[in-house]
């Protein structure tokens, strides 16, 4: 320990006003992130200038030549209150101390060996544990196609709120809902609009803005358990109860906090039955129904931009 410490003199940098300017700069950056990019640049400039001045101020004491304060003799007495301390020339204290600057090579070797061996053992133990706790999370997971039953269940031009198990082995927790509309035929191929009901803001379940015809509910049995089909008339599109995000019938955002359109499922026709595949994210859709032009992106978490400059915040995506 520095002998100058512990003399009852607080060791503090002098008070400084620079942090206030630094804080203002940080606030400018944060406000600018929401409001406008130039404000971020201004805020960053303020923060850098004041941060530099602050650091310069706070370290001025260390950059000066150190004042040498001689330790007054007799301070050692202040540590022995009363007469309890043993005499300073008995026991361990009486042994001759090592010469200043002297080290013992064997000591150094044992110290290094203990620390090094400990580090090796710790590493060997830690690597599999960390791998075990983190790696499985980022492994690609295969989903089977989801069978939703015959196409004839889906009347042309009508939305059907379809509820199914995405992964039957996971059970009820993998229950998902999609809004499915039969768009009729394009050439000789059937066309469907399959919207995920998960809000693109933070993943809450959206609801159709319009009547849901519960009495016309169909329980379609499939190999992965029953699929529920409930016709609906979402005349006002879809809305999220959590934070008020609104979407039109193509899943385009019309109001509220969502950053993109509703996600969609890939779909296939297998022997006259509708099957769903992977989910993908959509920035926006031009046109409607079978003529829709879908701007498709890789599946991304809710709340993340897939287009515009904001997508640069999410350069790497974990495998899904």
């Amino acid at each position: 320990m520095d002998p100058q410490q512990g003399q009852g003199k607080p060791h503090l940098p002098p008070p400084s006003l620079w942090p206030i300017g630094f804080a203002i700069g940080i606030v400018c950056i944060l406000v600018g992130l929401i409001v406008s990019w130039p404000a971020v640049a201004v805020g960053a400039a303020i923060a850098i200038i004041f941060g530099f001045l602050w650091v310069r101020d706070a370290t001025s004491e260390y950059r000066r030549h150190p004042d040498v304060v001689p330790v007054p003799a007799g301070t050692a007495e202040s540590f022995t209150e009363g007469a309890t301390a043993p005499p300073a020339d008995t026991g361990e204290a009486g042994m001759p101390g090592p010469e200043p600057g002297e080290r013992f090579p064997r000591n150094v070797f044992l110290e290094g060996a203990t620390l090094g061996l400990g580090a090796v053992i710790a590493g060997i133990v830690t690597v599999p544990i960390v791998g075990f706790s983190i790696a499985p999370v980022f492994q690609h997971k295969r989903h089977d196609e989801i069978d939703l039953g015959p196409i004839s269940n889906f009347k042309e031009g009508q939305f059907v709120v379809t509820t199914f198990l995405r992964d039957p082995s996971e059970g009820e927790i993998s229950r998902r809902t999609a809004y499915i509309r039969n768009n009729g035929f394009v050439g000789n191929k059937p066309s469907f609009t399959v919207l995920s009901n998960r809000c693109a803001h933070l993943g809450c379940p959206t609801q159709p803005n319009g009547p849901i015809f519960d009495k016309q509910k169909i329980e379609q049995p499939t190999k992965a358990g029953p699929v529920q089909l409930i016709p609906a008339l979402p005349a006002g599109g879809f809305g999220c109860p959590c934070h008020g995000g609104q979407y039109d019938q193509e899943g385009n955002r019309t109001a509220g906090p969502p950053v993109r359109a509703l996600d969609r499922y890939e779909f296939y026709i297998r022997n006259g039955r509708l099957a769903l595949g992977k989910t993908y994210s959509v920035s926006h859709v031009n046109g409607a129904g079978a003529a829709a032009r879908i701007y498709k992106y890789r599946e991304t978490g809710p709340g993340q931009h897939v287009d515009g400059p904001e997508q640069w915040f999410y350069p790497l995506q974990p495998p899904t």
């Binding site: 043993p86 959590c242 978490g301 993340q304």
Partner: protein, 263 residues
């Protein structure tokens, strides 16, 4: 009369014996007495008890949490039923769960009161800055306890609140999507998510908080309690009373080792 006094002394000696036994071999009794009977400023007030209150709230969480873990089943198929079972069937289960549930809010509120007291009294200043920093580390861990514990009842509120909470984490720039995947234990919330949150809630975070509370208390004892800002006593003033006489009672145990040392 003298006979009765002897009896009292005998009893005291018998009661004292195991304590002395432990003290001689570990110094723990002296340490405990040092901790409990250490000097504090004469004008410290009820405001200074907020830290102990927060500690008490945490210990209540610890105790009730251990008991709840004996009945709770961290499995998506039975989590909700097991909480209902605790609430409705287990004797006094409603009370223990209620203590844990409401105590969680009490813990967080007391942390903020304690923090406000330290801030407004200026008690974070030299030489206690490090203790403020340790407290600032405890705060987010306590909030994470709240976040991870919220999922465990596994009702609709818990599920969707966690969906939203994880997705908020996911929107953080650059590493957000990875953080969300880590919390979710995959790309979708599933059975592993609940077990993961349970483990974080009852093992990882409480361990970390306990360690930091230990450090927090060590620094409190080492640096002493600060006087309130209106204190008339000058800080850092020399103690006016004489130093304690060694060998009197357990607070200052006689230095046996020194006495037995052959000179």
């Amino acid at each position: 009369m003298p006979r009765k006094r002897n009896r009292t002394e005998q009893m005291a000696a018998v009661a004292q014996y195991p304590l002395d036994w432990v003290e001689e071999r570990s110094g723990l009794i002296g340490g405990l007495r040092y901790f409990l009977f250490r000097k504090v400023p004469g004008d410290s007030s009820w405001w200074h008890t907020l830290g102990s209150a927060t500690l008490t709230a945490f210990l209540v969480q610890l105790g009730t949490g251990v008991i709840l873990a004996m009945y709770y089943k961290p499995d998506p198929k039975s989590a909700y039923e097991s909480v209902q079972h605790i609430n409705n069937d287990v004797t006094l289960g409603w009370l223990v769960r209620g203590m844990h549930r409401w105590g969680a809010s009490v813990f967080i509120i007391l942390i903020f009161f304690h923090m406000a007291r330290v801030f407004l009294f200026g008690a974070y200043k030299y030489p206690r800055e490090l203790n403020w920093i340790v407290g600032v580390l405890i705060l987010p861990l306590a909030l994470l306890e709240g976040f991870s514990g919220y999922l465990l009842p596994y009702d609709q509120t818990a599920y969707w609140a966690t969906v939203v909470g994880i997705n908020i984490n996911g929107t953080a720039p650059f590493l957000g999507p990875y953080l969300a995947s880590f919390l979710r234990s995959g790309s979708e919330i599933g059975g592993d998510t609940l077990a993961r949150f349970y483990s974080i809630h009852m093992l990882l975070l409480p361990g970390a908080i306990l360690g930091l509370i230990g450090l927090h208390l060590y620094l409190v004892v080492r640096l002493g309690v600060s006087s309130p800002p209106w204190s008339s006593e000058a800080a850092g003033r020399e103690r006016s009373e004489p130093p304690p006489v060694p060998g009197e009672g357990l607070v200052n145990p006689s230095p046996r080792a020194a006495a037995k040392r052959p000179d």
